[in-house]
Symmetry: C2
Subunit: 375 residues, 2 copies
């Protein structure tokens, strides 16, 4: 994998915040650290900043590569760089690892100052609104009064939406991609099976597995395998794997037989090898809790009335995790308030994961929208 | 739960077959037993018999109740009885627990004559065609030369289809409900996650957990929770559970918060308490392997050309496990051969589980079709 034409070498930075942060769950985090990266140059007016929010398993390393790890390319590198849709010749891009993450920001594997041990499952459950508040402090630190745009896909799109609701004066544009205004019962159901896989793993030890020198890898592997099914479309799985057999014939055993099994197990094993299970649990709960209209007795129209930003809402035809119908709920609630909203439904066969694809039509829409953003 | 108007008290029977059975996987079962039930009366010509095939977690107790267990009602009681669609005033109905099952027929928990211990995971993997061969021997025992109809939903529908292909002279009508001619990559993927949950449970002990006095209940519970998501429709989950909270407010912990979580965990726990994990593994593999057109290089039309039965194919609009499009593949392959086939797509919101519902329109179609079956 190369990175030609992208942002090139990048470095991650670390910010420490000593002002306690009150969380949605009622707990207070006395202090916390966020790791982040920036690409491009902040202009003198500090008016050209774009915040990219990550999804469930993402982090602050959004684009480029590290000097000592040239193959470690950022997770959304294809959209960021000179001349790319998130154009670093024009914009200053910020990526941040969210609170509760496992890539350097304060999270369950960090030391709990009260005990001197890792937080583990005692780390407070963090909601999307908490991430937004924490990101706002990072904006303060960087001197960014208002974002030219907040951008995200999936759970990242929910943060873009939450920003526009919670800090209407600080977001000029919100790009909400492959998201939903709240999870459906089916969405929650998938999350709960994933959580139960982790929670019931004997190596979980009530979330304090760090002290036991173990990790609930069996459960995390299952969670990731299941997640992958919901990220891909049935069509794409059919085209990519179909009923292809690993060895051309049935083996009549419980080893890998179909290529799709090989793919899923590989993905599960890989993920379980580097991701922290407590972070996975926490991220799925943030998804479940996300429901900004709850503050308005379920009236999404009222909630959207609090926004001031311009919106680009993007959905994908084969996304069955957050289908186009879910994006349209957001669009309709915005239109009912007379907000400036563009909507694109992109015909891509990669399901929910389409938002990460370098499709020219999809990227063209993002690029065109951002070209019209005043800085 | 009462059973008024149904078949009333029933008794299960047991048949032993001493002739070795060659299985699709290459193994031979030296002898085996099948438990079965019958409802109604076999006529003198033995021409009024209907075989009901069960799905993944089903068994031979299809209708009625036992004298000593009045609440143990058969799993498809609503469709069987005097005046019901599978009318016991006219038909003789046979239900059988399939080979590899855990409700009395020979399966993984039976004693392996070679070792004197339970078969466990050494029980040979049984394919749909093996079930059909075993059922054919039961038909021989009962003196049934040809079935008036073979009926089944889901994996049961696959058996009804397999009967018509493998024993064209012995099936006059095949009722294939909520089924598919083969699993998709996504279907296999869900099965594999379920299997991995069981196989990676430390209590699985390579499938020989009976000897260890354990059972992989954690894994089986997860498998069932996941299965339930695929049996229900997104719509139905939304209507039934939505985002209802168990206690009216977020608890910010990993206990039950949403009603859907409570439902799934309850279903998972209940199932793990009585079902055998090795049987679950085996049944999901039978699903994966089912692909009769494989014998004709994938040409389903050629495969369907071997059938002689009349067909009723039924699908449900909200079934996303085996969608109507999958049923239509069967219908089109039959029509291409000029077979006598009726097709009904029923608008019910219960997803894949719709086939078990007592919907008047659905039951009316089954009843009307069977009224025209000559006996």
């Amino acid at each position: 994998m190369t990175n030609s034409g992208g942002v090139g070498r990048v470095e991650s930075k670390r910010a420490r915040f000593e002002t306690p942060l009150s969380l949605r769950c009622g707990a207070t985090l006395p202090a916390y650290e966020l790791v982040y990266e920036t690409y491009g140059t902040l202009n003198a007016a500090k008016s050209n900043a774009i915040l990219v929010c990550h999804a469930l398993s993402g982090h602050h390393h959004v684009a480029g590569h590290y000097a000592d790890a040239p193959d470690n390319i950022g997770w959304w590198d294809n959209i960021i760089g000179p001349g790319r849709p998130l154009d670093t010749d024009r914009f200053f891009i910020v990526g941040v690892n969210n609170l509760g993450g496992c890539h350097g920001s304060t999270g369950p594997s960090s030391t709990n100052p009260a005990s001197g041990k890792p937080w583990g499952a005692d780390f407070p459950l963090v909601a999307v609104i908490d991430w937004v508040h924490a990101q706002a402090r990072l904006a303060d630190l960087l001197g960014i009064e208002s974002w030219a745009a907040v951008v995200g896909g999936s759970l990242g799109g929910m943060q873009a939406l939450r920003w526009a609701i919670t800090y209407p004066q600080r977001v000029r544009h919100s790009l909400v991609i492959a998201a939903a205004p709240r999870l459906s019962a089916q969405n929650i159901a998938f999350n709960d099976v994933a959580r139960q896989a982790i929670l019931s793993d004997p190596d979980f030890h009530g979330g304090h597995y760090y002290e036991h020198g173990t990790a609930p890898k069996r459960g995390l592997r299952l969670a990731r395998m299941l997640g992958h099914i919901t990220y891909l479309s049935d069509d794409q799985m059919g085209e990519k794997f179909g009923r292809e057999l690993r060895n051309g014939a049935f083996s009549f055993g419980y080893g890998v037989e179909f290529e799709i099994e090989s793919y899923l197990r590989y993905q599960g094993d890989k993920f379980a090898g580097y991701f922290d299970a407590n972070t996975y649990l926490l991220m799925t709960k943030a998804l479940d809790y996300f429901d900004p209209a709850r503050e308005d007795a379920g009236d999404l129209r009222a909630t959207m009335g609090r926004t001031r930003a311009g919106f680009l809402v993007v959905s994908f035809t084969t996304d069955w995790r957050f289908s186009p119908a879910r994006s349209k709920e957001i669009v309709h609630a915005l239109l009912a308030n007379g907000r400036d909203v563009s909507y694109a439904e992109i015909d891509l066969n990669s399901g929910h994961d389409s938002f990460l694809m370098a499709d020219p039509h999809y990227h063209g829409i993002i690029a065109a929208y951002l070209r019209n953003v005043k800085i």
